[in-house]
Amino acid sequence: MKLIRAIIRPEKEEAVMQNLEAAGLYAITKMPVLGRGKQRGIQVGAIKYDTLSKMMLVLFVDEGDYKKAIDAIEKGAYTGHPGDGRIFAQNVSKSYTIRTAQEDR
C-alpha cells in the first residue's frame, strides 16, 4: 500500500477528484494548506506572497492502483505554470479499518 500526498492548486481540486473517481479511486482526505515551492512564493508588483493557498490531498492506494492515481492527479492538476504543485509518495507498512478492527490487506 502507498501513501500519496498531493499538493495542488485549489481550483484544480474538482478536476483531480473527477479523475480519481473515473479511475475507481474514491477514498480521499483533503485539507486546505498554505505552501510554497523553490520560487519562495511569488512577487506580484510590490506585493510579496511568502505562501499561497493550496489543497493537500491524501490517498492510501494499493500497489496496483498507484500508477493510475498518479496519472489522475497529474492530469487533473496540470496547468503548465509554476505552482502546479507536488506529489509525494511513500510506502505504508500497516493499515487498519477502525470499524472492523481488521488489518487491511
Binding site: 478536476a15 506585493i47 499561497l52 496540470y78 496547468t79 503548465g80 509518495a89
Partner: protein, 298 residues
C-alpha cells in the same frame, strides 16, 4: 448598512480598500489604487501573440464607435450586484481596429495600472460584443475609485474579471492564470446558478471560463511533447529560475513502479508556535530550504 447580504470571505482582510457605502458601486480593491491620471493621458501597452508590443494613446481610439449599455456588475465573492450605465468602446472593436489577436484557442491578459492586478479572458470571451473598455459611468466620466479613467467591463463573468485602471493587454497561447486564481481566492470567473438565473446571464459561445470546463479533454502536459511552456505573466518569480522547477519534473526521472530510487526525500513535520513561523522560515532559508507547506493545527 446600505447594501444588505454582503458576505466577507476569509481573505477579505487582504484587500487594500473595501467600501460598501460607495456610490454607485461598492469599492473593492485588492491592491492600493494607482495615482489618478486623465483619460487623455492613458497609454495602452498592447501585444498580440505574434506581434511586438505597441503603445496606443487614448486619442487613437477616437474612430471607434461609442456604446452605452446597462448590464449589472456582480461580485459573487462578496455577494452583491448593482445595475449601472456604462459608456465605452467594445473591446472587440479595439482588438480588430489595432489588429491585436491571439491563437484561435488562446487568451488575452489584462493588466491594471496598479502594477499588481491582472486577469485573463479566453479569446472567445474577449471578443464577445458585451465586453467594454469603459470610460463613462452613469453619464459621468468613470471615477478613479471605480477604475477610471478606463476599465474593463465583462458582464457575463464575476466582477473581478472587469479589471480596473486598464493599462496593458497581451495575447497568450495558454491560459495566463489570473491573480484571483493565483492567490486561491476564486476557482473560476463563471457565475453560479443563483446569479445566472437572477440576471439571465448567457455566456458567450466557445471557450468560456477558467479553468477549462471539465467536459473538455484534459490538457496534455507539454513536458511530454517537447513544447515550450509559456511563462506566467505579470508575476516576478524569485530565483531559482522557472526552468529549474520545470526541469525537475522532467520525463524519465520518476519511476512509477514505486518510490523513485534516485530521489531521496525525508519528511520533516515540525509543530511550532504560530509566532515563530517567520523565524522558522528564515532558519530554513539560511540552510537553503525554500519549499514547505503549512497548516494550522490544534
Amino acid at each position: 448598512m446600505k447594501r444588505e447580504g454582503i458576505l466577507h470571505p476569509k481573505f477579505s482582510e487582504k484587500f487594500a480598500r473595501i467600501d460598501f457605502e460607495a456610490e454607485p458601486l461598492p469599492v473593492l480593491t485588492l491592491y492600493p489604487a494607482p495615482s489618478p491620471i486623465a483619460l487623455d493621458a492613458v497609454r495602452l501597452e498592447v501585444a498580440g501573440l505574434e506581434e511586438h508590443s505597441r503603445i496606443i494613446p487614448w486619442a487613437a481610439l477616437g474612430d471607434l464607435p461609442r456604446v452605452k449599455t446597462t448590464p449589472a456588475i456582480i461580485c459573487q465573492i462578496f455577494n452583491w450586484s448593482e445595475t449601472v450605465a456604462w459608456e465605452g468602446v467594445r473591446l472587440v472593436d479595439f482588438l480588430d481596429y489595432f489588429k491585436i489577436d491571439t491563437h484561435p484557442d488562446g487568451y488575452f491578459a489584462f493588466y491594471s495600472r496598479d502594477k499588481s492586478f491582472f486577469e485573463g479572458l479566453s479569446r472567445d470571451e474577449a471578443r464577445d460584443p458585451r465586453v467594454l473598455l469603459a470610460f463613462g459611468l452613469n453619464g459621468e466620466p468613470l471615477p478613479e475609485q471605480h477604475g477610471g479613467p478606463l476599465r474593463l467591463v465583462v458582464p457575463f463573468l464575476q466582477g473581478y474579471k472587469s479589471v480596473k485602471w486598464i493599462h496593458a493587454i497581451r495575447g497568450f497561447r495558454n491560459d495566463p492564470v489570473g491573480i484571483k486564481r493565483l492567490l486561491g481566492q476564486s476557482p473560476t470567473g463563471i457565475f453560479n446558478e443563483k446569479w445566472r438565473s437572477q440576471y439571465q446571464i448567457v455566456p458567450p459561445a466557445g471557450k468560456v471560463g477558467d479553468p477549462p470546463a471539465l467536459t473538455q479533454p484534459l490538457p496534455t502536459s507539454p513536458l511530454t511533447k517537447g513544447e515550450e511552456v509559456e511563462p506566467t505573466p505579470a508575476q516576478t518569480v524569485i530565483l531559482p529560475p522557472v526552468a529549474a522547477t520545470l526541469s525537475e519534473k522532467g520525463v524519465g526521472k520518476r519511476s512509477l513502479k514505486g518510490v523513485p530510487s534516485a530521489v531521496k526525500l525525508k519528511e520533516v513535520i515540525a509543530l511550532i508556535r504560530p509566532q515563530k513561523h517567520i523565524a522558522t522560515r528564515k532558519g530554513l532559508e539560511a540552510v537553503g530550504i525554500f519549499s514547505y507547506t503549512t497548516q494550522t493545527v490544534l
